[in-house]
Point group: C2
Chain length 708, copies 2
C-alpha cells in the first residue's frame, strides 16, 4: 500500500506549505515569499537567489575532504561507508530530502590479485629479469600506500603472462598498427607499448590483438598530460603535474553497463551471460604503467596480469524532493561515487558539490520555505569507473518510468578540472537554460564578469540565431549521462569548470585515475579556495531549479534546428558529391530539416503567446510535454543494431571525421570503397531513410497537437 | 505557420462553444446541454444518449450498399473513388469533422496477370490437359463477372509453373508434412493440396517448401466453412453458404506492413529492400481453388501462377475532431477500406458503421452541440488485405507522436459476421469500458436484454474479481489493430457481432474473400434489417465517446492483473516442473505479478479517492497518463529480435499451446528437448528475466509518481 504513504506525503506537503504560507505571512520578515501550491506555481527568483547565496565554497571543501579521505573503489568498504554518509545527509531532519534509499545491483567488476601482483619486467634472452616496473606509485604524500590503494591495473583485462619483443605502437589505433605492419615490423607475439589517448583503453587491446600482439602496455606520456614536464621537482607535490610513477587506472571494457546483463538490471536473479563468452572484454592481457618505467623498457618484456573478475554488490544512492504540482515530472541530478583511489577530483569534486546543493535545497524544504513544482531526484551512482554501471542498470530497471517522465538529466562528475572557465556539454534543448543560469552568476575571476561572459572568452562559436555564444560541447559516453541520452533519449548535460587551453594542452588533469588525485592536490593546485567548485554548484543549482520550478519548461527546441542545419551542411559539403555519384539525393533530408525548423519556430511562438496570456494548466502541460519528449523522438532502437544501447540517431558514436549525422557518416565511410550495388551502399540509403523518418517524426511532435 | 491555423481553430472552437452555450441557454429547449470548455469537462450522458439514438440502421445499410457497389481492391480506381467519398463525408459542412486528408504510401502489392491467367490443370502422363480448374467464380448474381473482379489468387506467391503428382496435405502445417513423410510418401517435386485453416496462408507454402514440394493449392473445405453443405441448392444465393466455385483470396505474405520498407514509412524516397531478396514471401507458387475443383483433382497436376508484384499508391483517409480540453490525447477509431472483390462484409460492414458514426458525431460538432474532451481520429486504412499495410506504414511514420499521445485504438473491421452476439477482443484495460457500453445498449434480440446480457449467454468466463463476465478475446494480428498493439503498445480492441457457435462451426463467414461477399448477401443472410450493424455502431460509438470524453480515462489497469495471474498459473502448472528440472525458479515472476497487482489495486483506489474529491486538472492528467501509458511499459523492442514488429512481451505470437507468457512458453518449447546447458535453456532464462523486468517496470509506473 505504498501510495497511502505518499498520499500522506502529498497531503503532508500541502499542509506544510499551508503552514509555510501562514508562517511566511506572519512570522518571517518580508522577502521570504512562500509560493502557494497552485497549478500555476512558477520559478521564484528570490528563492533562486537564496540558493545561490547559500551554496558555500567552504562546505564544498569540507565535503571533498571527507569524501576523498580514503580510497573508495567501487564496492569497497569505504565505498559502502560513503553510501551511508549520503543516506545520512539525505535523511537528515533539518537538511535532508523527502526520501532516500540505496538499492544495490550485483555486477561484474574486475580487480587485480592481491596474492599475485600484476608485474611488468624486461628480461634477458636467457630469461633473467633485467628490470622490473614498479607495482605501485611512489609514496609522495603519505597517501599512496595502504591496503586500500588499488595497484595500477587495466580493469577487465584478462589474466595471462605474455612475453615478447617490445614494439612501440604510439596510441594503439588501428592506423598505428597498420603503419607498423606496412613498415615491415613483425607484430605477432610482441608486447605493444602504447600511450594513453587517441583510442579508447579497450580499443588499444582490441586493435593490437587483430595483429597478433600478445600483450599491451599503456603509459601516460608527459607530452600528453604534463605539457612536457617530467622530473620529480617539476611534478606533484611540487606542481599539479603527474609524477613519474603515476599510473592511470581505468576500465578496459568496451561497452558500458554491467557486462553480464545487457538491457537487464543486474538484480541477483537476472539472466547473466556466460562471463567467458560475454563480448566487450579486451582479448589480450593489458597493463598500465608510469612514464618513468616506460622510458626503461626495451627489448624482451614480460607482462604478468592476474586480474580476476568478481560479482560484487554496488549501490546507487537515490534521494527525492517531491514536486508540489507535477510530482510525475522528474529532474534528475547525478554523479558517481566510486573512485579508483582517493578520487578527490574524479568524482568527489562532483559529489562534494552534489552534497552542498542537496543540503541547501533540503534545508529550504525542511523549513517549509520551498517545494519545487516538479520532483527532483538526486543520484549517487555506483561503479561508474568500471563502465557507467550503476546508472546504466538504473535506466534498465526503470526504463518506462524514466522515459515517460524525465524532464532532463544533469550530470556533474568532475566538477573542477581547472579553474579557468565553465565548460558544458549537452544536447541543444539545454543550451538556453545553461546560458540563462551562467549569465546571472558571477565568475570566480576576473571580478565583474559573469560565468557566461568569462566562458565566451574561452570557447565560443557563431550561432546563426544568436551571434557569438559560448560553445556547448556534445555528449560522448564519458560519464553517467550516457545511458540517459543514448539509451533513454532524455535531454542531458554535463557541467564543470575547466582549463585555460592557452596554458596547458594536458589531455586531462594530470593525476587522473592515479594515487595522486587527493584532497591536497585539489586544495593546493586545482581550486584553492574552492571558488570554482562554488561556481559549478551555483550554475548546476540554478539550472536544476529552473528546470524543476519554471511553469514553462526552459528547454528550447528550436536550438536543435541549428544543430540539424550544421549537420546537414557538413553532409552536403563533405558527403554530397560522393552520394550524388551513387544517385543518392539529400533532398528529402533538406526538406525534413526545414520542416523541423519551421515546426520548432512555430512552437516557440506558441510558447510566447501562451506566456503572454493566462493559459490553463493543461495548455501548459501539453506544451511542456512536447518540449520534454522531443529528445525521445530521435531514438530508434533498430537504427544501429551492432551498437549496444546507442539508439539516438543524432548522437550515436561517429567514426567518420565529418561532423554530421553519425549513421549517415559511418555508413558512407564504410561504403566509400565498395562497388555500386554493395550492401554497404544499401546501408547508406537505409541510414538516410532512418534519419529522414526520425526528423519528420520529431517535427510532427512539435506541430500543433491536433494537427493531422 | 500551421499552428496559427490551429490556434485559430481552437479559438474558433472556443467561440463556437461559447456561442453554443448562449444558444443552449436561450434558444434550445431544455435537454440540449452544451458543455463549457472547462478543464473539468466530463462525459455528458445526454450527449451519449443522443448519439446512441441517432445511429441509424437504415443509413448503415445505405452506406454499405454504396461502399460495396463495385469491387474495390487496394489501389484500384474504385478504391481511390472511395477515398474521395470518405473525404467528402468528412469534409461535409454539416456533418463533417474538423479536418480530413488522404495521404498515400507507395507500397508493394501483388496481382495476377491479366494476359496470362493463373491456371490449375490435371494433366495425363503424356502431358495433355485432362481437367482444368475454373479461373473465376461462377456468376450467380450478376456480380461475379467484370473487369474489376480480381480472379482468385494467392497474393505475393511467386510466379512459376510447377507440375507434379498431387499429394493431399491436410492443413499444410509442419506436422501435416512430417506425417506424410513418416508414412513414406515422397514429397519432393509434388503439388500439395491443402485446405484453409490450421496454419496461416503463407505458412502452408513455407512448410511445404521445406519438404521439397513444388507448388501448393489451397481450397476451402465445406466441412470447415459450410457446416458440410456443398451443393448448389444448399449454398448462396440459396443460403449464406459458400458456393462450390467460391475461392478465398488472400495475402500469402508472412509479415505485415509494406514488404519493402520494414520499420520505415513507404514514402516514395524511402529506402527499399531488394524485392528479390526481401523476406516473408512464399517460397513456391501457390494458388487457391474452390472445393468443387478440389474434388476433381488427381494424379499429375500442373499449376501456373503468373502473379506480379507492383509498386502502387495506396491511401489512408484520416479525419480528426479536435479535443476541446486535451487535444493532445488521441482516441483512434479505424477500419480498412480495401476489399478483395465487393467486400460487403469484409471490410465494408465496418466502414458503413464508421461513416454512420462519423456522421452523427460530425453533425453534433458542426451544430456546436458538442466537442470531445480529447481528440478523435478516424482512419480508413488502405491495403489491409495485402498485410495491414496502410495502418502499419502510418504507425511507422508517426511512431513517436502516436506512442506519446494515443489513449486507445478501436478497430471495427468486419462489423457483423453474424447476428447472434457481440464479440470483442482487446487488451485487459479496455474490458471495463466495453462492458460499460454494452450494458447500456439494447441487444437487437432477444427483446429486453442488453448487448452485455446477451453476450454473456454466448461466451463467458469466471473472473476472480467480478464473477461470471463475457469473455474478452485476445488480439492476434488479423486486422489493423496489430501494429498499434504489437509495435506501439497502444491499448487496442476489435468489436463485431458474430455467430451462435451452437448453430455453425464455420471457420469464418462462408463467402469470406470471395466474389460472393456482396451487399445482397449481407442484406439477405448476414444481417437483414441491419440491427446488428446498428448494435455495433452503438457499442463502438459508446466506447469511443467514453474514451474521448470522460474526465478520468475509463481504462482499468487492475484488470491486467487477472491476465497476469492466469498466465502465471498456466506457467506454474504446465511449465513449472520442466523449469524446476533445469533449476529455473518462477519465484521472481510470482513476486513481480504480486507487485503489479498491488500497485494496480492501489492506483484504482487512488482514482476512486480523486473522483470523490475535487482534484485539480493536473492531478487528473497525471493519473490518466499512468493509465494511458501502462500498455507501453510492456514493450521491449529487443525481446523477440526474430519477430518483426512484435515487441509486446505479453501478446507476441505464441507457438506453444500453453496459454501463458509467449516468450517464456516459446522458449520452453524450443528448449524442451535440448541438453542442460544449451543455448535454448539460456534463452528460457533470458525470456524469464525480460518478463520479470517488464512486469516490475510496469508496476513501477503504477505506483505513486513521486515514489523512488
Amino acid at each position: 500500500m505504498q501510495w497511502v504513504k505518499v498520499l500522506g506525503g502529498v497531503v503532508g506537503a500541502a499542509a506544510l506549505l499551508g503552514l509555510g504560507i501562514i508562517l511566511g505571512h506572519f512570522a518571517i520578515p518580508k522577502g521570504a515569499n512562500v509560493p502557494a501550491p497552485s497549478v500555476s506555481q512558477d520559478l521564484d527568483l528570490e528563492i533562486l537567489e537564496t540558493v545561490m547565496q547559500q551554496l558555500e565554497a567552504s562546505r564544498i571543501r569540507e565535503n571533498l575532504r571527507e569524501l576523498s579521505r580514503e580510497p573508495h573503489l567501487a564496492s569497497s568498504p569505504r565505498d559502502e561507508a560513503l553510501v551511508q554518509l549520503l543516506l545520512q545527509r539525505w535523511q537528515d531532519p533539518e537538511s535532508g530530502l523527502d526520501a532516500a534509499e540505496a538499492p544495490a545491483y550485483e555486477v561484474l567488476l574486475s580487480f587485480p590479485s592481491q596474492e599475485q601482483p600484476n608485474h611488468v619486467a624486461v628480461v634477458s634472452p636467457t630469461g633473467s629479469v633485467v628490470f622490473s616496473c614498479r607495482q605501485s606509485e611512489q609514496n609522495l604524500t603519505g597517501e599512496q600506500v595502504g591496503p586500500d590503494v588499488v595497484p595500477p591495473y587495466a580493469a577487465y583485462a584478462p589474466p595471462g603472462t605474455p612475453q615478447g619483443l617490445l614494439v612501440y605502437a604510439n596510441r594503439g589505433t588501428e592506423e598505428d598498427f597498420m603503419n607498423l605492419q606496412t613498415q615491415g615490423i613483425k607484430l605477432e607475439g610482441t608486447i605493444a607499448l602504447t600511450r594513453y589517448g587517441g583510442a579508447g583503453r579497450g580499443a588499444k587491446a582490441v586493435n593490437a590483438a587483430k595483429y597478433g600482439v600478445a600483450g599491451v602496455l599503456v603509459y601516460t606520456d608527459p607530452a600528453d598530460i604534463n605539457d612536457g614536464q617530467s622530473s620529480a621537482n617539476e611534478t606533484f607535490p611540487n606542481s599539479w603535474c603527474l609524477p613519474p610513477s603515476g599510473v592511470e587506472r581505468g576500465s578496459y571494457y568496451e561497452y558500458f553497463g554491467d557486462p553480464l546483463t545487457p538491457y537487464l538490471p543486474a538484480n541477483p536473479s537476472s539472466f547473466r551471460l556466460d562471463p567467458d563468452a560475454a563480448p566487450g572484454f579486451p582479448p589480450i592481457p593489458a597493463q598500465p604503467i608510469g612514464f618513468d618505467d616506460a622510458k626503461s623498457l626495451l627489448c624482451q618484456v614480460n607482462v604478468s596480469v592476474h586480474n580476476r573478475r568478481e560479482l560484487r554488490n554496488s549501490s546507487n544512492v537515490l534521494g527525492i524532493i517531491r514536486g508540489a504540482v507535477e510530482p510525475d515530472r522528474y529532474v534528475l541530478y547525478g554523479n558517481h561515487r566510486d573512485s579508483w583511489v582517493h578520487g578527490a577530483v574524479d568524482p568527489s569534486s562532483g559529489t562534494a558539490v552534489l552534497l552542498e546543493l542537496s543540503r541547501v535545497l533540503g534545508t529550504l524544504l525542511k523549513k517549509g520555505t520551498w517545494r519545487p513544482r516538479r520532483s527532483i531526484v538526486f543520484a549517487s551512482w555506483g561503479a561508474e569507473e568500471f563502465g557507467l554501471i550503476g546508472s546504466t542498470e538504473f535506466t534498465e530497471e526503470f526504463f518506462s518510468k524514466l522515459q515517460e517522465r524525465t524532464v532532463a538529466y544533469i550530470n556533474v562528475d568532475i566538477s573542477v578540472f581547472a579553474n579557468a572557465t565553465l565548460r558544458a556539454q549537452g544536447t541543444p534543448p539545454v543550451q538556453s537554460v545553461i546560458f540563462a543560469a551562467a549569465k546571472q552568476i558571477p565568475a570566480p575571476s576576473p571580478v565583474g564578469l559573469s560565468i557566461y561572459d568569462n566562458w565566451i572568452r574561452y570557447s565560443n562559436r557563431s550561432s546563426p540565431a544568436y551571434g557569438v555564444v559560448p560553445s556547448l560541447g556534445s555528449l560522448g559516453a564519458g560519464s553517467d549521462y550516457a545511458p540517459f541520452i543514448h539509451f533513454l533519449g532524455i535531454s542531458s548535460m554535463d557541467i564543470a569548470y575547466t582549463y585555460d587551453r592557452s596554458k596547458t594542452s594536458a589531455r586531462i588533469y594530470p593525476t587522473y585515475h592515479t594515487a595522486f588525485d587527493t584532497f591536497g592536490y585539489v586544495d593546493k593546485f586545482v581550486d584553492p579556495g574552492f571558488s570554482s567548485h562554488q561556481a559549478v554548484a551555483r550554475t548546476a543549482g540554478s539550472v536544476l531549479l529552473r528546470l524543476s520550478d519554471s511553469l514553462f519548461l526552459p528547454l528550447n527546441v528550436s536550438d536543435y534546428g541549428e544543430t540539424l542545419r550544421s549537420f546537414l551542411q557538413a553532409a552536403q559539403q563533405h558527403l554530397g558529391g560522393l552520394l550524388e555519384q551513387h544517385s543518392i539525393s539529400l533532398g528529402r533530408l533538406v526538406t525534413a530539416v526545414e520542416k523541423f525548423e519551421a515546426a520548432a519556430k512555430a512552437l516557440e511562438q506558441h510558447r510566447s503567446a501562451l506566456q503572454k496570456g493566462s493559459p490553463d494548466p493543461l495548455q501548459v502541460r501539453m506544451l511542456n510535454d512536447q518540449l520534454m519528449l522531443l529528445e525521445r523522438t530521435f531514438l530508434n532502437p533498430r537504427a544501429f543494431p551492432e551498437e549496444r544501447y546507442y539508439s539516438h540517431v543524432l548522437w550515436a558514436p561517429r567514426t567518420s571525421s565529418v561532423a554530421t549525422f553519425p549513421g549517415l557518416a559511418n555508413a558512407c565511410s564504410r561504403a566509400m570503397n565498395t562497388s555500386l550495388g554493395s550492401e554497404a551502399w544499401a546501408e547508406v540509403r537505409r541510414q538516410l531513410s532512418i534519419l529522414v523518418v526520425a526528423l519528420e517524426g520529431a517535427a510532427a511532435t512539435l506541430r500543433p497537437v491536433a494537427d493531422l
